[in-house]
């Protein structure tokens, strides 16, 4: 299973999904109405490393995080 976490202001509990890549995750989240506003502006990290494309293979135990727009300071 892959754990998907939603950081900061995205008010959504973590998901445990049986997926093998980010395309599958995109499909699942695109069907989730409350995620629509976040998919466009959120970055994605796999095992705490930011990724810039969906060409990432996911395996059992991997962690994916969605990071919405940031503003420190």
């Amino acid at each position: 299973m892959v754990r998907v976490e939603f950081l900061g202001p995205i008010q959504k509990k973590p998901l445990e999904l049986d997926i093998t890549n980010l395309n599958e995750l995109a499909k699942i989240l695109q069907e989730d109405k409350e995620m629509q506003q976040w998919l466009e502006n959120s970055a994605v990290a796999v095992n705490d490393t930011l990724v810039s494309s969906r060409d990432v293979v996911l395996k059992d135990g991997d962690r994916v995080a969605l990071l919405p727009p940031v503003c420190g300071g």
Binding site: L7, P9, L50, P69, G72
Partner: protein, 145 residues
């Protein structure tokens, strides 16, 4: 050297500690930036969430860049609530000569604003309101849309 605190930063203490840590390191310049919560739009204060694992790796990459120039970066940030006129953020660069520190503090603070995984909320009427309009999408955002 990244320091995270619950609530507001004690600016005089932190600046003094950093000064003392490097007092004998032979740096010619110590350039701090102190961020203070200002009164605007009737906010009572700000509140912050931080995602530490990615913040740490982002900071370590900057520290490596600084080291190549013989400099060192220190940063302190608040978690949770910080009220008006209190500080939530301090960054500082120490370097042998002033030019490196002046340039680094500028680049570092700008990239911090655009990339550090920290989320800001306005405190209004006791509620936390995500400051989306002042936030920046991290580079590479939107790959799942």
């Amino acid at each position: 050297m990244l320091y995270l605190y619950e609530g507001p930063l004690d600016v005089p203490i932190i600046l003094k500690e950093w000064y003392e840590q490097e007092a004998c390191s032979n740096y010619g310049a110590y350039i701090p930036f102190v961020g203070t919560v200002r009164s605007e739009d009737n906010i009572e204060g700000l509140s912050f969430d931080i995602y530490e694992p990615i913040l740490n790796s982002w900071f370590e990459a900057w520290q490596r860049r600084a080291k190549e120039k013989g400099a060192v970066i220190k940063m302190a940030h608040s978690r949770g609530d910080v009220m008006l006129h209190e500080s939530s953020y301090i960054a500082a660069v120490f370097s042998p000569k002033r030019r490196v520190a002046l340039e680094f503090i500028d680049e570092f603070v700008e990239d911090f604003k655009a990339s550090a995984p920290i989320w800001k909320y306005d405190l209004k009427g006791g509620k936390r309101v995500y400051a989306l309009d002042r936030s920046t999408a991290i580079k590479g955002s939107g790959i799942l849309k």
